[in-house]
C-alpha cells in the first residue's frame, strides 16, 4: 500500500499534523499494520520535497510544537491520478498455501491433511472477521476492511476445496490403475 498516497488522501479533508494523520490512518485501516510515527514524518517530508504537500503552520497547545501540513494542487492531482489507476489483477501464484500443496505432492506427503487443517484455520479467521463486522456499532471502515479480508480468504478456500476434490479424483484414478 502506498503510504504517501494514503497520507495525501487524509490531507484532502484539510490541514493536519503527523500525530493526527497517524491516528486517523490507524482508525480508517484497522486491519492494516499501524503506521510508525517515524514513517509518517519521513513521508510528510518527502511529500513536501516533491511539492505534493506544504507546511501550513505550527501549533503547540501548551505542549511540544507540532507542524501542520496541507496538500498542494500538485498533491491533489497526484492523488486523483493514483486513485484512478487500475491495480494489476495479478493472481497470487506465489502464495504459501499453493507452494505447500505443490511441494507436498512432489514429496509424496499428505496434501489432503494439510488442506483440511489450513481450511479450518481459514474458517476460524473468517468467523472472527464476521463477528467484527456484524458487531453493534462497527464503523464503515471496519466493515469494508473485514469484507475485503473475508472475500480473499473465501477465494483461498474455494481454491482449497477444488484442489482437495482434484486430489480425490487423482487418488481414485491411481488406485484403480
Amino acid at each position: 500500500m502506498s503510504t504517501r498516497h494514503i497520507l495525501l488522501g487524509l490531507l484532502a479533508g484539510g490541514p493536519s499534523h503527523g500525530y493526527d494523520l497517524k491516528r486517523r490512518h490507524d482508525d480508517r485501516f484497522p486491519e492494516a499494520r499501524p503506521l510508525a510515527y517515524g514513517q509518517v514524518y519521513t513521508t510528510l517530508q518527502r511529500l513536501v520535497r516533491d511539492g505534493l504537500a506544504e507546511v501550513d503552520g505550527t501549533e503547540s497547545d501548551g505542549g511540544p510544537e507540532r507542524t501542520r501540513y496541507r496538500s498542494t494542487e500538485a498533491g491533489t492531482r497526484e492523488l486523483d491520478r493514483w486513485a484512478g489507476q487500475i491495480a494489476p489483477p495479478a493472481p497470487f501464484v506465489t502464495n504459501e498455501i499453493f507452494a505447500k500443496v505443490v511441494v507436498s505432492i512432489l514429496a509424496g506427503g499428505d496434501p489432503d491433511a494439510y488442506l483440511r487443517a489450513q481450511r479450518a484455520a481459514h474458517m476460524a479467521r473468517m468467523r472472527e472477521l464476521t463477528a467484527v463486522k456484524t458487531a453493534h456499532g462497527a464503523d464503515l471502515a471496519t466493515v469494508l476492511s473485514a469484507d475485503y479480508a473475508l472475500n480473499h480468504l473465501d477465494a483461498d478456500l474455494r481454491w482449497m476445496n477444488t484442489t482437495a476434490a482434484r486430489l480425490t479424483t487423482l487418488t481414485a484414478e491411481v488406485d484403480a490403475a
Binding site: 483440511r116 489450513q118 484455520a121 473468517m126 468467523r127 464476521t130 456484524t134 480468504l153 473465501d154
Partner: protein, 232 residues
C-alpha cells in the same frame, strides 16, 4: 458453549444415519450433534448429503438406519402425529426459497404459526408485526411474497420460523438465491435473533462466508461428516 461438538448430551443428535433414495445413498453413516443455543454450519459439495441430514434431523424424513435423538429421546421413532406437533411447536424451518404462502401478505404469513397454535387473530397479528419490525421488514407487512425482493421475503420467512420461539431452526441454504448485501442482512438478523432467544440453528450452506456466521462448522463428503482439520 460447546464448540467441539463433543458434549455428551447434545440437544439434537444424529448417529450413524443411513438414507437411500432408490439406489442412491444420500447418507452413509452420518453423525453430528447440535447443542442448545449453538449455531452449527453444515457445509459440503452438492450431493454430499447436507439436505438429507437436515431432513432427518428435523423429522421430515425418517432414516433407513441409525438414530436421531432430541432432548435425549428418539425422534425417529415418534409417531407421525407427535412428530408433526414437535415440528410445529419446537422447530422452525427456512429453505432457499422461503416457501411463504403466495396468496397471503407478509404479516399473515408470519402470523400463521401462531394462529395454528390457537393464538387469537388480533394477538397473532400484533406479534407478527413486532417480528417483522425485528427483521427490518415492517414496511412490507401488507405485501405478498411476489411483491417483495428476495431478501425481504427471506427475512419474512425467518420471522415466521422464529415467531414461535422454537428450540431449533433448520435453515437450508437460506441465502442461496440472494446477493451479498441481502445475504448479510438475512444472516445478521438470523444470528442476532437466535442468540437473543437461545435458539439453536442448523445452517446448511455451500458458502464459506455464510458458514462463518456460525459458532462451528462440520463438513460433509459422500454422505458422512468428514473429519475437520485441526491446527497445531
Amino acid at each position: 458453549m460447546n464448540t467441539t461438538g463433543e458434549n455428551p448430551v447434545p440437544l439434537l443428535a444424529a448417529r450413524d444415519l443411513v438414507k437411500a433414495y432408490g439406489r442412491s445413498e444420500a447418507l452413509r453413516g452420518a453423525s453430528v450433534g447440535l447443542d442448545a443455543g449453538e449455531i452449527l454450519a453444515v457445509t459440503g459439495t452438492s450431493g454430499s448429503g447436507k439436505s438429507t441430514l437436515l431432513h432427518c434431523l428435523a423429522g421430515i424424513v425418517r432414516p433407513d438406519a441409525g438414530s436421531v435423538s432430541y432432548g435425549g429421546a428418539r425422534l425417529d421413532e415418534l409417531p407421525e402425529k407427535r412428530l408433526s406437533e414437535l415440528r410445529r411447536t419446537e422447530f422452525g424451518v427456512v429453505f432457499q426459497f422461503g416457501q411463504l404462502i403466495p396468496e397471503l401478505t407478509a404479516v399473515d404469513n408470519v402470523a400463521l404459526p401462531l394462529l395454528l397454535a390457537g393464538v387469537s387473530r388480533a394477538d397473532a397479528h400484533t406479534r407478527a408485526g413486532e417480528w417483522l419490525e425485528r427483521f427490518g421488514v415492517r414496511g412490507q407487512a401488507g405485501l405478498r411474497p411476489g411483491e417483495m425482493s428476495g431478501g425481504q421475503a427471506q427475512r419474512t420467512a425467518l420471522a415466521r420460523a422464529l415467531i414461535t420461539r422454537p428450540k431449533v431452526v433448520f435453515a437450508d441454504e437460506p441465502t442461496g438465491a440472494l446477493d451479498s448485501l441481502s445475504t448479510e442482512q438475512v444472516m445478521t438478523a438470523l444470528v442476532h435473533t437466535a442468540r437473543e432467544s437461545g435458539t439453536a440453528v442448523l445452517l446448511i450452506t455451500h458458502d464459506a462466508q455464510v458458514a462463518a456466521y456460525a459458532d462451528r462448522e462440520v463438513r460433509m463428503a459422500d454422505g458422512a461428516v468428514a473429519p475437520v482439520g485441526v491446527t497445531a
